[in-house]
């Protein structure tokens, strides 16, 4: 044998080694490592090897889209749209299809805890019996010192709490959701009340319109019912063989909606009202109608000067609108978040009356649901009562006020003055961690309920919730907790709520629907209930919305608030806009984090959008970290040079910047709520649209993970 190991031998040896390790590690079925446990008794709805589908309602935002959840062996696999549902007709948005990441989120709260306001030394898990006693004692305190803060969805819990507070003599529940602020929902409701005489949300028939003016209404992203409006947008573009709709969007920062528009008119923030008024005048004149007194004194030159749009352009657009056979004007979003926001909304709603599209195809209808407003002013009032120590017990469900409310409102300090704070959060969000007790509710895919469908449906509709999986953890439906606590209270309160549990309460609320002419009916509630769960809700068989009976223009000439004058090159209008994180609760869904932003393709972080020309003047480059300061606070974020924004405007997305909410949300980006004001417009909505900010370079650099470069942005690797 030779002294050296020949190359040939070496190859032989290594070949043998590779073969041996292949046999050991890879090949052959690994049967004996798998155990399969069949059902002890197979549920009747389950068939071996086949998926079971459940109809329910998406609760990632308050729009109320119908979903079908595909489950297999008790696991929720995929979420699909419910093709029958009048809101979304089988379609869904990115938030809806990733809702399983909430259900199976590893950071969920797994049982009731005494949280002790984040004091880890005293925090301890408690039992539901102890929790019930806490809730019962809380409800037994003096009624005027109890407060409920709920989310924006008009669901069964809101109805139950409303009835409960009425019975107890406590103040009605306050509702808040950052999205309703970004939608300008209160302003829209108030404008509808003043213009149409009814306080309901208007339904804009975008699908049949041919020229649409949208002022700030970002209906392709978040506004009211984005899936319904995106569906309508598709029809608006290509649904008709001969006509293609023409969309014009007026806003300072190009949103996704404006990006899809045929014309984006970058107006100066704060000039929406005068522009809406001048369109009223020009369109009325073009159509040979009398001009309402409120608009007769507005001049095109004044509107042009305020908005920065040329007179010629304004006249041309007004002509386009007046000449269209199905024109439609949509007010919403940042346009209403100005001092004159209510006037903007009223003018634009009345503009629809000027072109006589009320109740016409491609026009404005009224949704049936009577909604109690989710009023920022009411939240402000609650904070004032809390600060004055007039609130002894605060229940919080479905909202994360410490994150969503402007920091300047001082909710955190007010919360410290409330002796007992009980949160029903499913996730360890900022507010839950600052509360005394967390009594976790089931997540949406584990719970029963209903939601009155608000803005996206062309007919009266109720959407049903049902559990698609058995609750994963020791959580309990908040409605059940409240019902049980009220029962323990005894006395009159208990008699007012004789329901065994949440389901019985829901069924009782559904009783009127049996005879209400839906697309199915039933002889009694239990049959009705099974169909209700099967179809994912109840709605009318045909489109059925009422037309506004009247349209009242604003009474008299309006003293328009001029846009804030800026110190050029130093001060900038600051726009805060929501993206696919919605109200910020989407930030703990890793796939939503990974999903590129529509316009910038940034993932996993916050950014500040600055016009490239402005950035050049300030000496800023992409990824430079800057400090954005307003009189109310400051945030820091990386620069994204955004070509579709006014050079005097900057913008920050809402939804990141969590200090809690689990591993994927925490410590990521910045929360622009910290720089928002607390001022309100005449309708009581937050005027987040007229903030002036300054930019200060920090000298730091933090690259943003953008998908627009397929090669990656970290350079060579």
């Amino acid at each position: 044998m030779s002294n050296t190991l020949s190359r040939r031998d070496f190859l032989k040896l290594s070949g043998l080694g590779a073969a041996v390790s292949a046999v050991l590690t890879g090949c052959g079925p690994m049967a004996r490592y798998i155990v399969r446990k069949p059902y002890t008794s197979m549920p009747e709805y389950n068939q071996t090897g086949l998926s079971t589908y459940y109809a329910s309602t998406c609760r990632e935002c308050p729009a109320g889209c119908g979903i079908i959840v595909r489950t297999k062996e008790g696991r929720a696999i995929t979420i699909e749209g419910n093709p029958q549902h009048p809101v979304n007709r089988g379609r869904l948005c990115s938030r809806g299809v990733t809702a399983q990441q909430g259900l199976y989120n590893p950071d969920r709260i797994r049982g009731p805890v005494f949280q002790a306001r984040g004091d880890a030394g005293r925090a301890k898990a408690i039992t539901w019996d102890e929790a019930l006693n806490v809730v019962q004692q809380a409800l037994a305190s003096s009624p005027d010192q109890i407060a409920f803060l709920l989310g924006a969805a008009p669901d069964h819990l809101f109805d139950l709490v409303s009835e409960m507070t009425a019975t107890l003599g406590a103040p009605a529940p306050v509702r808040y959701n950052a999205l309703t602020t970004f939608e300008g929902r209160t302003t829209l409701l108030e404008a509808a009340r003043l213009t149409f005489g009814e306080e309901t949300l208007p339904y804009f028939d975008l699908a049949n319109a041919d020229v649409t003016f949208a002022f700030g209404a970002n209906f392709l992203e978040n506004w009211l019912s984005p899936v319904a409006y995106t569906r309508a947008y598709g029809e608006f573009r290509q649904g008709r063989p001969t006509r293609r709709g023409y969309l014009v969007v007026f806003e300072a920062r190009q949103s996704l909606t404006a990006g899809n528009a045929d014309e984006w008119i970058p107006i100066r923030p704060g000039s929406e009202a005068i522009l809406a008024a001048v369109f009223n005048r020009l369109v009325a004149e073009a159509r040979g109608k009398p001009v309402s007194p409120a608009f007769s004194t507005v001049t095109v030159s004044a509107a042009a000067a305020a908005s920065g749009v040329s007179e010629e352009k304004i006249r041309q657009l007004a002509q386009l609108f007046a000449a269209a056979s199905h024109p439609l004007a949509i007010p919403g979003g940042s346009a209403l978040a100005q001092a004159d926001g209510l006037m903007t909304a009223r003018s634009l709603l009345y503009l629809n009356a000027v072109v006589e599209n009320l109740g016409q195809p491609g026009g404005v209808f009224l949704t049936p649901a009577q909604v109690a407003a989710t009023d920022f002013a009411a939240v402000k009032e609650l904070v004032r009562r809390m600060t004055d120590s007039k609130v002894k017990v605060l229940f919080i469900h479905g909202v994360n006020p410490l994150f969503e409310l402007p920091g300047a409102l001082g909710f955190g300090e007010a919360l410290a003055k409330v002796p007992l704070v009980i949160s029903f959060a499913s996730f360890p969000d900022e507010t839950a961690l600052a509360s005394d007790y967390i009594l976790p509710d089931h997540t949406p895919l584990e719970s029963f309920g209903y939601q009155r469908v608000l803005a996206g449906s062309d007919r009266p509709a109720y959407s049903s919730f049902q559990p698609v999986v058995v609750p994963l953890y020791d959580t309990r439906a908040t409605a059940d907790v409240l019902l049980a606590a009220v029962k323990q209270l005894g006395m009159a309160a208990a008699q007012a709520f004789p329901y065994k549990d949440e389901v019985e309460y829901i069924q009782q609320k559904l009783l009127p629907l049996i005879e209400a002419g839906g697309f199915y009916t039933a002889p009694e509630i239990f049959t009705f209930w099974s169909r209700w769960l099967q179809y994912g809700g109840w709605w009318k068989p045909q489109a059925e919305l009422s037309a506004p009976r009247q349209a009242v223009p604003p009474e008299e000439a309006f003293p328009f608030t001029p846009p804030v004058e800026l110190e050029e090159g130093k001060q900038f209008y600051l726009i805060t806009f929501p993206n696919h994180f919605g109200d910020g609760s989407g930030a703990n869904r890793p796939w939503l984090q990974e999903l590129p932003d529509w316009m910038t393709t940034v993932t996993w972080n916050s950014w500040v959008e600055i016009h490239p020309k402005t950035a050049e003047e300030l000496g800023l480059h992409d990824d430079d970290v800057v400090r954005i300061s307003t009189p109310f606070g400051f945030v820091e974020a990386s620069v994204y040079r955004y070509p579709a924004i006014r050079p005097d405007t900057i913008a920050i997305p809402f939804g990141q910047g969590h200090t809690a909410l689990g591993r994927w949300a925490e410590g990521r980006g910045c929360n622009p709520a910290q720089v928002l004001p607390t001022t309100t417009n005449a309708a009581g909505d937050l005027t987040f649209g007229s903030v002036v900010a300054t930019i200060l370079p920090t000298g730091k650099r933090r690259p943003l993970a953008r998908v627009e470069s397929k090669e990656g942005i970290y350079g060579e690797h």
Partner: protein
């Protein structure tokens, strides 16, 4: 209309005039196909696993500027550049479905196919991305979970195609037009995506693909893509 030189079956039509760029397709695709999220740093390295990505391009100059969106998935080329370069036959053509397949257990990770793909449609698993308990509960049992070192790409949701075909066969009928929908098509809120059998001239996808707005990505390369785009009608290009 370019003359098709290869047999074809499944096709996808993307109407860019309806597409708003909302990215619901990406999210639906990821949840259906067990696609892992990779985290901020990996995305920044260009390693994001998007089987379907939305190509956003700025068109025009301020103030007449707008983004042009173009959702790009595997084009399922009839004459696919990724196929001949694979040394281990992990990128093969399905004769029955007329799509390109990624054979994960053959793949050795040379990434030649990705380099040769003109559409950036193929993604590489640089690491094993484990989902923390209990998040792995939502994994779709119909789709193989890929491990590191493996190339992957859009399959036109072949698991749904096979399931739809087997269901129709069990019921003794042909597959109906529109019965089989990939996850992206099913989710698309604007109805911009239409999927169907383009070998049947009567299917909705075939009818739409005959539109005068039609074009295909890099048509001139002769890859015979199965995805047809319909131009947007916007003012600034598109």
């Amino acid at each position: 209309m370019a003359e098709q030189k290869a047999p074809q079956k499944w096709g996808l039509v993307v109407d860019l005039d309806r597409c708003t760029g909302c990215n619901a397709c990406i999210a639906a695709c990821s949840m259906e196909n067990n696609i892992p999220f990779v985290g901020e740093d990996e995305v920044a390295y260009g390693r994001g696993l998007y089987w379907l990505y939305n190509k956003r391009e700025w068109r025009g100059e301020y103030p007449e500027i707008k983004p042009a969106f173009e959702p790009v998935m595997c084009q399922q080329c009839g004459n696919a550049p990724c196929e001949p370069v694979c040394p281990v036959f992990a990128s093969v053509h399905s004769e029955e479905e007329q799509i390109n397949l990624a054979v994960y257990n053959r793949c050795v990770g040379t990434r030649y196919c990705a380099n040769n793909c003109p559409y950036h449609a193929r993604q590489f698993n640089y690491f094993d991305y484990e989902l923390p308990e209990p998040m792995n509960s939502y994994l779709n049992p119909d789709v193989t979970v890929r491990r590191r070192g493996v190339m992957e790409k859009c399959t036109f949701c072949v698991q749904r195609i096979v399931r739809g075909r087997q269901k129709a066969a069990a019921e003794g009928r042909e597959v109906e037009d529109g019965e089989i929908q990939p996850a992206c098509v099913q989710a698309c809120p604007a109805g911009a995506l239409v999927f169907g059998d383009v070998s049947n001239p009567e299917s909705k996808a075939s009818q739409m693909a005959r539109n005068q707005r039609r074009y295909q990505l890099l048509e001139e390369l002769g890859t015979l893509p199965r995805v047809t785009y319909l131009k947007g009608g916007g003012r600034y290009g598109g």
